[in-house]
């Protein structure tokens, strides 16, 4: 990186960022490389100096995970922000890690295609979404980023640049490193570019929403839809202390969508169909910053839905009933023993149903008193993977499972 660009980058970054704190930890300095080669240079320099590095995209989720044990460099990837390829005929696109998801979507929309992922927070980037493995309602239809990623360029902790996968949908040559990076929260390597498979934009979509009497009824409605022939693109539940709603999204050709909408309204007495998503669709049940909330992600077998809704109790829950992933928001100003009790109850219930409860975000002082990740099977093997990729624990130290 040239002297002037680094200087400019650092000052720009401090202007555009309201806070440079990562869960209360202030980074030593900000680097804003503009290419994979520059990222490699930064990583090599950091390795030489024994410094820790925390990659970031738009910073919308920098609060997730444990506070880092050290943060010498905040590696801001937002300048690597181009959609470098969109091969419409092959249904693939490649973009830099700092590219806002929304920009990629705009670009591919010109060919009536989409990356089948929901974005709910303006600004979130390809790299950040990949590293955080966030997902919204449409994961029922297309899976998560894990299932859409086909190639990746990464920079290792020692500054070596490597590629895995490629630009074709079908490829089993070598290990699928992309899978390891998805959800790794910036602890294994820095992603600088990624290639995805795209889907055609459906011609038509419709939402069908129905109220449920209680948790058991919501579970019953969910099962009815799942085993039907309506092929939903999303199947969501939204439980609050006052009401429980189940909503279904169908996408496809106008004729098909009309027919399936009718089938759904027949299956779900009392339901209403509409052209717009219900309120809160695709949003976590907390504000974007989660400053007032402990944001918990719960996962469970489909048959566990009723128990998990019960366990969330007065706090309610929102998420993908058709997949077994949902989110619970507990007000952060509750007594810590109460928060701990809710978390314990969710962990016990989700574990019984083959899943987990992970605290995604919370104010720093609350986080300190919680075990964010809970029990993690195969943690020793995960540690060995971390030790191989990042033997000095330079990347996002301490933020991930088991203190990785």
């Amino acid at each position: 990186m040239s002297e002037s660009s680094a200087g400019r980058a650092a000052s720009e970054a401090s202007v555009s960022r309201p806070t440079q704190s990562i869960s209360g930890v202030r980074p030593g300095r900000i680097e804003r490389p503009t290419s994979t080669a520059e990222v490699a240079e930064v990583m090599r320099a950091a390795a030489a100096a024994g410094e820790s590095v925390i990659p970031t995209g738009a910073g919308t989720k920098l609060g997730w995970g444990n506070p880092p044990t050290s943060a010498d460099v905040l590696l801001d990837l937002s300048a690597i922000d181009e959609v470098t390829e969109h091969a419409a005929g092959d249904l693939i696109a490649t973009a830099g890690a700092g590219t806002p998801l929304s920009r990629l979507q705009e670009e591919v929309a010109s060919a009536e295609q989409r990356l089948a992922l929901d974005t709910t927070v303006a600004g979130s980037t390809i790299g950040g979404t990949l590293a955080a493995n966030t997902s919204g309602p449409r994961r029922l239809f297309a899976g998560t980023l894990r299932d859409l990623l086909i190639g990746v360029t990464l920079v290792r902790a020692d500054g070596v640049v490597a590629k895995a996968g490629g630009k074709v949908v079908k490829n089993v040559a070598g290990y699928d490193l992309g899978k390891l990076l998805v959800g790794s929260m910036g602890t294994l390597a820095v992603v600088t570019e990624a290639t995805f498979r795209l889907h055609p934009v459906p011609q038509s979509s419709r939402w069908v929403t129905v109220g449920a009497r209680d948790a058991a009824h919501a579970a019953e409605l969910t099962q009815t839809v799942l085993h039907s022939q309506t092929v939903p693109a999303a199947l969501e539940v939204d439980a609050t202390p006052d009401a429980i709603e189940v909503s279904v999204l169908v996408e496809g050709r106008p004729d098909g969508v009309a027919g399936r909408t009718t089938a759904l309204t027949d299956l779900l007495p009392g339901s209403v169909a509409g052209e717009d998503p219900p309120a809160g669709w695709g949003r976590y049940p907390w504000d974007d910053t989660a400053e007032m909330c402990v944001g918990i992600k719960v996962t469970f077998r489909l048959s566990g839905l009723a128990d998990v809704v019960e366990a969330a109790g007065e706090h309610g829950l929102r998420g993908s009933a058709g997949v077994g992933v949902a989110y619970v928001a507990v007000p952060a100003d509750r007594d810590i023993t109460e928060i701990q009790a809710v978390l314990a109850r969710l962990r016990e219930t989700t574990a019984r149903h083959g899943g987990s409860a992970v605290v995604l975000d919370a104010p720093c002082e609350v986080k300190e008193q919680l075990d964010l990740w809970g029990p993690v099977p195969a943690i020793d093997l995960m540690r060995r993977v971390k030790d191989e990729f990042d033997p000095d624990h330079r990347l996002s130290p301490g933020r991930f499972v088991g203190g990785i």
Binding site: G28, G89, R146, G166, K170, N171, A173, G174, D392, V401
Partner: protein
Amino acid sequence: MTPLETLTAQARALIPEPGVITDPARLRTYECDGLAHYRVTPALVVLPETAEQLAGVVRACAEQQIPYVARGSGTGLSGGSLPHAEGVLIVTSRMRSIKEVRREDQRAVVEPGVINLDVSRAANADGYYYAPDPSSQQICSIGGNVAENSGGAHCLKYGFTTNHVLAADFVGADGDRVRLGDDAPDSPGYDLLGAVVGSEGTLGVVTETTVRLVRLPEKVVTLLVGFDSTDRAGAAVSAIIAAGIVPAAIEMMDALAIEAAEAAVACNYPDGAGAVLVIELDGPAVEVDAEYADVARLCEETGAFETRTAKTPEERGLIWKGRKSAFAAVGRISPDYIVQDGVIPRTALPEVLKAIADLSERSGVRVANVFHAGDGNLHPLVLFDDAVAGAGEAAEDVSRGILDLCLSHGGSITGEHGVGADKAAHMPKMYAADDLDTMQLVRCAFDPDRISNPGKIFPTPRLCGERPGRRKGAHPLQESGVAEVF
């Protein structure tokens, strides 16, 4: 006692008869997989019945530092389960129980030796099936599918094995048993299962998997469409994709492949076709009907001279029989052949097919093309007669040339059959040294002594435990005044 004798005694103590094989004649029945020109007789074959027994054998291998290779049904086409001459072959064919089919969770829990098609059979009564369907689905094992990340005709719409496997019980190279993934999605931590799927048995052995079941579609329509050339058929595929339709399958066969299939199974494909497409649409009836109308029109517009739609399950079966028997059928028109498995971006199809035809003409080696046209996964069948001097080498040359073509178009050396023993030497053509070195980090984490299926996938494994050199001193960026510290 030699280490192998010790191991054999340990295996006998663990595994009931007839699960430990030492008789040389019987050992030889395991000397190859579906890639029969590589043959190695294993030193010992074991057939455990339980995960404990299997883990015990692996632990004993680790203690004695004896390599082992896992084997499912041995249908692999890349020599992935080729035995190690001084090693143990661990065969899962006695681990064939379908432990659970849970309709309410849309899941099945199966042992690794379970045959792919049996999972669907077990789920059909509930209205479900297991989507990944390699052409070998009647014989290949789920463990082998997981290890190869196997695909099949329906991958285009439904994804590969990796998209359908949620969790696995796994025996690491030290013999320890761990659970990878979970019954629910997004289990916390690294996606180790994602790394294990497709790792061809080089990271450890899967002893149980939880797979996703998919609802049987309300309607399925299968079309057989005849074109006079692969170019026209390719244009039809492009038009269908451009129209935003993702069929459950689009398969293409060229004239030579049709000739072979016809000779073998009399599938009655359109007379004189230069290419046929097998197109399958599935889903809600209304949706399928609308798509069908569009697909039929697009095929006609791009020059189809005959379109047949299966009216009965038997007709549908016959259309697929021609396609699915294509590999074996080639045996009818050529004594020997090589099955290639390259991938190209789908839009490069016309260009690459033309280049393959040129290559074939120049070398005088016949090439039949059968492939997953929807996702650009080619299976050129390179025909030769081993009895003719030099024919094998010429076929090898053409086969390699086809891979080079795939790579020069930004494709891959394997779309579903794996690297195995066969293509390890090609890996450096596709990946740079640093890419391969980075993959080796995963191997080192899972199997530092490299006793799990050694010699597969990678031409030159890295030495585990190597550390990049550390430099100490002032930060170079700081020193040069490039970056500020605040």
